[in-house]
Point group: C2
């Protein structure tokens, strides 16, 4: 089969890779309907995370079940399924507490690589959720978004404890930040303030429910948000970048006793003393997307939410290299890769 | 009056200082009944926090109201009062949310210095809580503990979301850690594991409710706690030290989805990536002791709790230098300073 492989920084190629087969009795093989490029794929693409040997890429996926292992009972061939970027058993104590991305048996899908024609999904019963029927083509992007960025934005808002009436600051105008806006609106936030300097992202943010778009960054953004909130700061902050600067902006934007949900993969040390005196709550990490999938699938199938709008570049998997370039150069928020 | 002043690292003296007077209409002057030395006083004492000019010391206090400003209505001369290390108005939005130590009008009592005969307490109505009557001498240490270390341990347990049935790891066997044990027991923890290598502190920890005392530290303590909890980690962690190592131990000891309450004044950067992947909730900061004072005063007056036991050295204020030395050399957990 064809599959994307990163050979070196900025060198991603569509290679011939072995067809996946059932390796464990809990596995399923899916034929990808669509896949996409994640902001976190840019860390190794840019060489910020080292790539020692050619690495299969991709951890977001929707597709049709082709084959199942003999122990799989909850899905069957022919069904359209969505899963998250960590396979999970969904039965251990950690999963039952809602932290499937820290499942005691978790397996990273990124090591498998879903920017490909087929993928082997371990722990299929605990990982994959089937839709009631094979969805119409126009819903595919939204279901694909649920595989990671929607679920991650959702977790950001849940971790930030967004409830009706709150003021929410969103840091990051990528797909996750924008879908954090959508989640905050869904949870009844009264005011949603996002930092963005890109007209198209600003527009999408407003469409998803942002009430205020500010162009300031860093300390200036913090000062602006304090001005907008009687000097106190927002109740909630959703951090969707992962740098020290963005964490400082998130912590600084939130009032004492408020909550920061951080879902950008943190690549920096955090300033302990500033965090201490901020009096904020901090929660985040790799989103337990599986926790939210049933609800997100319902919201998408009912057409209550349309998260697929974050894909602003749709190209064939064959053009995967251009898909990375467009995101790297910020010409695209998020690239959807189609399969025949 | 006499008051302790830090002149240089390890040079604390009882100097003659000006008698405090009412400076603002919301002030009260109290005559100290007792005061004490805090673990956080050791940061400047040891020169880890710079001391540029002679600094009055002390921020823990109980005493008798001597005089009140014309706007003070909730306390009157002759009452026995307890307050926290931040003066707070107790009426602003932040105070009403329970974060009085981040009150928009907060004033640090440490700048006033309560290791002295008298102290001026600003925002007296919002800061001081009076007992029903002047307490018997044997309760003074417990009320004094409520001024900081008990309230701080309490906040650690609240921030760690200790609820009935939880397993709690406590990092730090100083007064705050030990009183974190007491708080965790009060909130119904099923198992309370503390790291300690000091026989007297181990004994007190058990007396306060610790079910397990381990001698391991750092990664070894984390491994031991994982062993004791089916490989998952504790539900809750109370961090009461403030170093990078202790934060790592706290984060490592707690399972994904669990809660770390950190109340040691953090003096280090925190490892963002480890925190991210730990999936823990993190909350802490300077304890909003004022939030807990009414409840703590009730528990002490009813003799339900006896937090005064953390004082294992009681000497006159005149011997303040020895009080610091004993804590610096870990000969004492906490020094109580008596006044005539």
């Amino acid at each position: 089969m064809k599959g994307a492989v990163l050979h070196a920084p900025r060198d991603v190629r569509l290679d011939e890779r072995p067809d996946p087969t059932i390796a464990e009795p809990g596995d399923a093989i899916i034929r990808l309907t669509a896949t996409c490029v994640c902001g976190s794929d840019l860390w190794p693409y840019r060489g910020i995370e080292a790539v020692d040997s050619p690495a299969p890429m991709g951890h977001e996926y929707v597709g049709i079940v082709e084959e199942i292992g003999r122990e799989v009972t909850s899905i069957r061939p022919g069904q359209f399924v969505i899963g998250s970027f960590f396979a999970s058993d969904n039965t251990c104590e950690i999963c039952r507490a809602g932290y499937q991305s820290s499942c005691v048996h978790r397996q990273p899908i990124g090591a498998i690589g879903t920017q490909a024609e087929y993928a082997r999904i371990p722990l299929a019963d605990g990982t994959l959720v089937a839709t009631a029927e094979v969805p119409p083509a126009d819903l595919i992007p939204s279901y694909l978004a649920a595989s990671d960025v929607l679920g991650t934005g959702w977790f950001g808002a849940v971790a930030a404890e967004v409830v009706p009436g709150t003021t929410v600051a969103v840091i990051g105008d990528g797909a996750v930040g924008l879908l954090g806006v959508m989640a905050a609106a869904h949870f009844g936030a009264e005011r949603i303030i996002i930092s963005s300097r890109h007209a198209s992202r600003q527009r999408l943010a407003r469409e998803f429910g942002a009430t205020d778009v500010i162009e300031e960054r860093g300390d200036n953004a913090v000062a602006r948000i304090k001005d907008m909130t009687d000097g106190l700061g927002a109740h909630c902050g959703i951090e969707a970048v992962g740098t020290r600067e963005s964490m400082l902006q998130a912590i600084g934007s939130v009032r004492p006793g408020g909550h920061v949900g951080y879902v950008g993969v943190t690549h920096a040390d955090l300033p302990g003393k500033q965090l201490f005196y901020s009096h904020t709550h901090l929660h985040g990490g790799p989103a337990p997307v599986r926790r939210f999938l049933p609800e997100l699938i319902d919201l998408i199938s009912e057409r209550t939410i349309d998260p697929g709008k974050v894909f602003d570049l749709t190209i064939p998997l064959d053009d995967v290299a251009e898909g990375y370039r467009a995101m790297d150069e910020r010409r695209a928020v998020k690239t959807l890769l189609t399969l025949d």
